[in-house]
Amino acid sequence: MTLHDIYLLSPELSVAILAAVVITVDLMVRNKRILPIIAFVGLLVPLYFSIQLWDVGPKQAFSGTFQMDGFGLFFKYLVLGAAALVVLSSTEYAKRFGNHQGEYYALILFSATGMMLLASSTELITLYVALELTALPIAALAAFIRESRSAESGMKFLVLSAVSSAVLLYGMVLVYGFTGSSQLNEIGFQISKPGTDLSPALMLGIVLITAGFGFKIAAVPFQMWAPDVYEGAPTPVTGFLSVASKAAGFAVIIRVFYTAFEFDTLSIEWATMIAVLSALSMSVGNLIAIRQDNIKRMLAYSTVAQAGYLMVGLAAISTLPGGSDNAGPSGVLFYLAGYGMTNLTAFAVIIAVSNKTESDMIGTFAGLGRKSPFLASAMTLSMISLIGIPPTVGFMAKVYIFGAAMDTGLWWLVVIGVVNSAVSAYYYLRVVKVMYFSDIDESGPLRPGIGVASAAFLAMAGTFIFGIFPSPIIAIAHKAVTSILE
């Protein structure tokens, strides 16, 4: 370990330090309103470090267990952005945690540290540790409200997360046993050695790893935890879980599958598996979401479906004809960024509404179009973006990702994807319908707090602007992906 290694790790370290600072300040001051401000402003430090590192180029650290590269940095920007927006939208919500606000913000930051580490780890054990660092704070956060549903949510997340980690670990062991290394590059090298026959044990290992990661991104058939956890957890945590945690999950999937398992014949095997899971996730998520009355539950199933769309890009691997431009994985990155803004817009609005109404039922949005035109239009834009209708980033990302799949010959998956988007319009627009067309609630205007309103505004502006000029994100995503796929 050298000083330079520390420099490469500076974004993660500074987030962890920030978390410690937040806890310390929490002990010293009585006015808790300063905490989100410290957390939000403090996030500029890791952001500064990670922007500094962009031009440094791929560098390994800590004996090859950690690699600082464009790919990892892309996810650091994403996680930092998501954490900042979540902190901002928690400003008013967190008051209900009384004396525990410091811990609340600190846990979010610790989890963010894990996610950032996850995106850059290039070795199975480091990766596993980072994954646990991501999940444990979230389990605590999910149970943060003192009521049974929240406790159930935290418990469920903890138990199922542990089970999935065990599955993942077992898969990693099999892969290690077959290749003799826990370094991703080395694994890839061993597998692609000429004359290596791919044993069923290795395939089993890959399947188990897919299952473990499938849990993290809530893909069918590993989605069963999502609805209960999403519903019970404090709303900002749900937002964080649905955006940052999912992004980190995809980061690690791309890193592992594209570096360790990228061998031609092997990659086509797992790409087919992912394509099937993708079709299932889209269809199951969308169909069940139609029936939901609780907006957080609905968005839980919606994220299952969104994971399906994202996996379309994952299945469009580089080894297929037409995939050499890496449009599939860069599409995943672009989609994650767009989906992040879109979903955080929705969650900011839900937080603003539930701050007043203490309820998450879709019915409480009735008349929001009149009570708060700003929140209602933010929510509408977010729903339109989730369907994939212009002028939103969701539209651009969906077309881009489907285009990548088309280019690699996965036209059947694209057909399933577009039909699913059409179906999803039904339940996403139900929210819009309630906000604008039903006026049963005669209460006065709803004024959101400054924190949550600015979070909604920032996320909404991103959804709209990148829906018209998407090329900056696509360009960065493309650079990020090529930094690990030479």
């Binding site: 431009d325 209708i389 539209f395 489907f402 088309m406 036209w411 694209v414 988007s421 059409a422 360009a475």
Partner: protein, 497 residues
């Protein structure tokens, strides 16, 4: 090739900008006034575009091209607007109907500001569809039009408005979903979204999917929009429950997007498949004409009646398209394009008049209406003119279009054309019957105090009547322009025949 004339961009974005201005600065009656101003300027702009194109079809210079909109190597999207003989008349039509729609909603009292905002966004998006020549941009505008329409129907509609709005949206979005698959497949086969060079590129390209599958993937979106039997079921619901202004836009220009797409994409890019499947188009066209007309006769709701008559009239467009197979393809296709324009003006006038009658008499049920001519001479005359134009009376634009279509399709499809002429008889029957039962006959007591149209209500009627009659007397203004636009399509089709 990088030109930026700017006129077309103004035509597309001026209404959208006006909507944004209304959102920020105006409300209530002021919003209405501003919308009138904006759509009037838009009418001037679209007329100007029309005149420029008419004076100089070969070097009109109206092209806005910005190649670096999304300059990603693997996904190159351009911002590219231009017009040709096919789109210019439809742009003008959208300009005319925009101001008509604003006047048509003169009397709304509920959420006035939002109503005019959505109308303006809708107008901008539709002009975008007609002028976009980059396939991706075309699709973007195609989807952009959904949300304004969804809001217009579900907030200001009547009856089962939310159901109808959702049905409209799901049908359309499902169609465009397949279209997207087709567009992407075309892009990755040819490497371009440029619709002006796509026809040539497709001919020599190694396509990802068989051309006939691509033909069906793209045409299904247009078929739902037009609408073609059996995808027409959204239309009567949407039309019946939509507010007048939305009906005017829906029947007047949104359906035309379907027909336009069939020419621009299905016919221009897949001439082989168009010929192979022209029997199907002719068959569906005849089903549309006859089935639509037969159902229309049974309707007792004025708006539903007009809605089904649209299904019937759009069948003529299909029949005209199917005439590609025969010797008189030029006539048939030009007739089909002309039919789109004339149906746009005529049906808009029908919906407008019926909307006013409903506003005053509070019913659209034909048996409850009778003898309106005595109390509402202006509206009765307007309904009469629109009705007669709709049934194709010589001297109105409907006549020219239908006769040309028949002349064009007969050489290719004897039987189908003969059956289709029955449709004309049915049309005459339901239109005359409708007119006779609503504006003539004894007037019930409670209708004795019905007011006639007020001045702001007369404006859009006058605009549309002028448009209908002038195209009827002098159809070549429009039809010649259409035929220059259709020339490349017809040449390629004739070469294959």
């Amino acid at each position: 090739m990088e030109g930026f004339n700017g006129l077309l961009s103004i035509a597309v974005f001026m209404p959208i900008l006006a909507a944004a201005i209304i959102a920020i600065f105006f409300s209530g009656k002021a919003a209405r006034g501003f919308a009138v101003g904006a759509t009037f300027v838009e009418l001037l702009i679209t007329s100007y575009i029309f005149l420029i194109y008419r004076n100089n079809p070969d070097a009109h210079g109206m092209e806005d091209r910005f190649s670096n909109w999304i300059p990603i190597e693997s996904f190159r999207v351009e911002y590219f607007l231009t017009v040709d003989g096919l789109s210019t008349p439809l742009v003008l039509l959208t300009g005319i109907l925009g101001i008509v729609a604003v006047f048509a909603s003169w009397n709304i009292t509920f959420r006035i500001k939002e109503h005019f905002m959505w109308l303006l966004v809708l107008q901008g998006a539709v002009i975008g569809v007609f002028t976009a020549m980059d396939f991706f941009l075309f699709f973007l505008f195609w989807e952009l039009e959904l949300i304004p329409m969804f809001f217009l129907i579900s907030i200001w509609g009547s009856g089962r408005k939310e159901y109808s709005a959702m049905k409209f949206l799901i049908f359309t979005i499902l169609g465009s979903a397949f279209m997207l698959v087709g567009i992407l497949a075309l892009y990755f086969s040819t490497g371009t979204f440029d619709m002006t060079i796509l026809p040539d590129k497709i001919a020599g390209a190694d396509l990802i999917l068989p051309a006939s599958i691509l033909f069906f993937l793209t045409i299904i979106g247009f078929a739902i929009k037009l609408p073609v039997f059996p995808f027409h079921t959204w239309l009567p619901d949407a039309h019946t429950d939509a507010p007048t202004a939305a009906s005017v836009m829906l029947a007047g220009v949104l359906l035309k997007m379907g027909g336009y797409g069939m020419f621009r994409v299905s016919a221009a890019m897949f001439p082989d498949q168009l010929l192979d499947f022209s029997w199907l188009l002719a068959l569906l066209g005849v089903i549309n004409i006859i089935y639509g007309a037969a159902i229309t006769i049974r309707q007792t709701d004025l708006k539903r009646l007009i809605a089904y008559s649209s299904v019937s009239h759009m069948g003529f467009v299909l029949l005209g398209l199917a005439s590609a197979k025969g010797a008189a393809a030029t006539l048939g296709m030009t007739g089909a394009a002309l039919q789109m324009f004339t149906h746009g003006t005529i049906t808009a006038l029908l919906f407008l008049t019926v909307g006013y009658i409903y506003e005053k008499a509070h019913t659209r049920h034909i048996p409850d209406l009778s003898g309106l001519a005595g109390r509402m001479p202006f509206l009765a005359t307007s309904l009469l003119i629109a009705g007669l134009a709709s049934l194709g009376l010589p001297g109105t634009s409907g006549f020219v279009a239908e006769v040309t279509i028949f002349l064009g399709s007969f050489p290719a499809w004897h039987i189908f054309t003969i059956i289709a002429t029955v449709g004309v008889v049915l049309t005459a029957a339901y239109i005359l019957w409708m007119i006779q039962r609503t504006i003539f006959g004894p007037r019930p007591e409670h209708h004795n105090n019905l007011p006639d149209a007020s001045l702001p209500e007369m404006v859009p009627v006058a605009i549309l009547v002028v448009a209908i009659i002038s195209v009827g007397i002098y159809p070549s203004v429009i039809s010649e322009m259409f035929s220059t636009g259709l020339e490349p399509i017809i040449t390629s089709v004739k070469a294959l025949n």
